[in-house]
Amino acid sequence: MLSQWLFYAFATVSVLGALGLILSRHPMNGAMWFVVTLVSLAGLYSLLSASLLFALQLIVYAGAIMSLIIFIIMFLNIQPADIPDEKGKWAYLLGGCLAVTPIGLLLLKIVSTLPGGEIDIVGNGFGNVKSVGMVLFRDWLLPFEIVSILLLVALVGAVVLAGKKEITQ
């Protein structure tokens, strides 16, 4: 019962955070709203007893990546005059919502007509460090390594691009 209420709370807060990210004008406000979303997502993971994912969400996304983004925002030192004047923001938003509504309704319809499948509740221990590590490094070793090489390539590419610009100047 408590976990259900917690789920509603976290879900609402994460949606509110996402809304805040879109609607806030100042980039710092947007980033802080996004932190709220990430933390409530971590809460949702913990409700699923995925403790490793919970910790990684907090360490990597909320802790490291977002603080880098905020670092950049701070570094750019954005003044109120620098923020673009968003004319007709609300009209665009309303129009977008109206445009998306039929698709949303369609999706709801599809989901509600899905046949009720058998859902297995996995035991509480499935999300801890050891089991995730076992799955990742035993069953999915090759995809995992490929993804990590992809990230490395992206990293090296970014460094090369940044370096090139400096030389041409």
Partner: protein, 428 residues
């Protein structure tokens, strides 16, 4: 839930919440008196209540009262007041909750049920600590940014870059440690360190991971923004850094947060590398089995320690200039009496333990209390190391800091992971 369960939960949470806060007083006191002693001064020792100075601890009370009653002002040029107020709260609370995952005694077994001696029984242990230190940097960034001040922004930028740079070696040092311990759960890590290596050396992290200790402690110093890495507030170049616009208790929160973070990271260093609550050569089961001999040894040791301690008080708690009817001697006499009364009370408790031969529960509680005392003693010593390093080493230069982080600590921690994994694989 029985009443005992609820009582133990309350005790646990109280320990997790109050001990770090109490350690603020001890940390500040240790810092100021320690700085004095290291520089051949005496440090603050004048504040008193009815002539009782408690070695200068009363100064903290005076400073706290002053901070609380100062005018709490927010400068008019600050546009984002919400973040400005939020920042000190974030710094303080992330430091406070990072202590929650640290076990302060072995599992207490009462009437066949076991209770974990940890504020919140986390599985993820050390990961929780890393997450909390990652969040603490938000407080500093927000404080620096929302202060709308050059020095504030510079302090925030420096701190953010530093914490991000040092989180990586810290995390990698933890990885090599996890290879050794085979778990992220801090309770299990502490229990692991109760074993003996070759039958006579305590299996502490410091012996299994000598390189990891150095990397982790250096990174922990950088994460807590303590000298030699306190660039965020480098007063000689950026005045006070991120807390330049703060006054009154909002500044106080930053100040207290620093000491809570210092205590929490001391506790985590102790848990990971110095055996946590373990007393060397006395694992929990050994202590339970030999509770009475241990109690007798303690009973013999206690008067000796009290004798030397009271002698030390009598020697040092005097005025160093002529003063008729020296009030400090009177004060010292009261302290000495208190010491002997306390010692007598503890002796009495130990005597009942020896004579009455209590139930298994009583012995367990005795062991847990001993382990809690050991843990606090170790954490205090580690806090002293923080103070000691602060008053020994000058601040680095900023490029040296980044060079140390990226070019020395990061490769070293990677090498450490390879060596550790190779050794573990070879041995298993």
């Amino acid at each position: 839930m029985s009443q005992l369960d609820i009582l133990l939960v309350v005790l646990r949470v109280a320990f997790g919440a109050f001990i770090p806060i109490c350690f603020i007083a001890i940390g500040v006191w240790m810092e100021r008196r320690g700085a004095g002693f290291i520089q051949d001064r005496l440090g603050p020792n004048r504040c008193n209540i009815f002539g009782f100075r408690f070695g200068g601890l009363v100064q903290n009370l005076a400073d706290g009262v002053k901070l609380i009653f100062k005018e709490d002002m927010i400068a008019g040029h600050i546009p984002h007041r919400f973040y400005f107020v939020l920042a000190p709260v974030l710094v303080f609370f992330t430091a406070l909750v990072s202590f929650a995952a640290i076990p302060f005694a072995d599992t207490l077994v009462l009437g066949g049920r076991s209770y974990i001696m940890q504020t919140i029984p986390f599985d993820i242990g050390i990961l929780w600590f890393l997450a909390c230190t990652g969040f603490a940097v938000y407080g500093i960034i927000l404080a620096g940014w929302s202060s709308h001040n050059k020095y504030g922004i510079l302090g925030g930028l420096r701190s953010a870059a530093q914490v991000i740079a040092y989180e990586i070696p810290m995390g990698l040092a933890v990885v090599s440690l996890l290879v050794v311990y085979g778990t992220v759960n801090l309770s299990e890590i502490a229990r692991f360190q109760g074993q003996l290596l070759f039958g006579f050396i305590p299996m502490w992290g410091v012996i299994l991971q000598p390189l990891g200790v150095v990397i982790f402690i250096v990174a922990a110093f950088a994460e807590t923004n303590r000298t030699p890495f306190d660039f965020a507030e480098g007063e000689s170049e950026i005045v006070a850094g991120f807390h330049i616009e703060y006054s009154s208790m909002k500044f106080g929160m930053f100040f207290l947060g620093e000491y809570v973070a210092m205590f929490a990271s001391s506790a985590i260093i102790v848990t990971l590398f110095f055996g946590g609550y373990q007393i060397p050569w006395l694992a929990t089961e050994t202590m339970v089995a030999y509770a009475q001999p241990i109690a007798i040894v303690l009973m013999l040791l206690l008067p000796v320690i009290t004798y030397y301690f009271t002698n030390w008080i009598r020697k040092n708690n005097v005025s160093h200039y002529y003063r008729p009817n020296d009030p400090l001697v009177r004060e010292a006499n009261v302290y000495i009496k208190i010491c002997w009364i306390l010692a007598a009370a503890v002796e009495l408790i130990l005597l009942t333990l020896v004579v009455i031969n209590p139930s298994a529960d009583g012995v367990r509680i005795f062991v847990v209390l001993l382990q809690m005392a050991t843990f606090l003693l170790k954490a205090t010593i580690m806090c002293f190391v923080y103070v000691w390093v602060r008053w020994t080493l000058p601040r680095f230069r900023y490029d040296q800091l980044q060079k140390l982080g990226w070019q020395i600590l990061l490769p070293m921690s990677l090498v450490n992971i390879f060596i550790t994994s190779a050794v573990v694989v070879a041995l298993s």
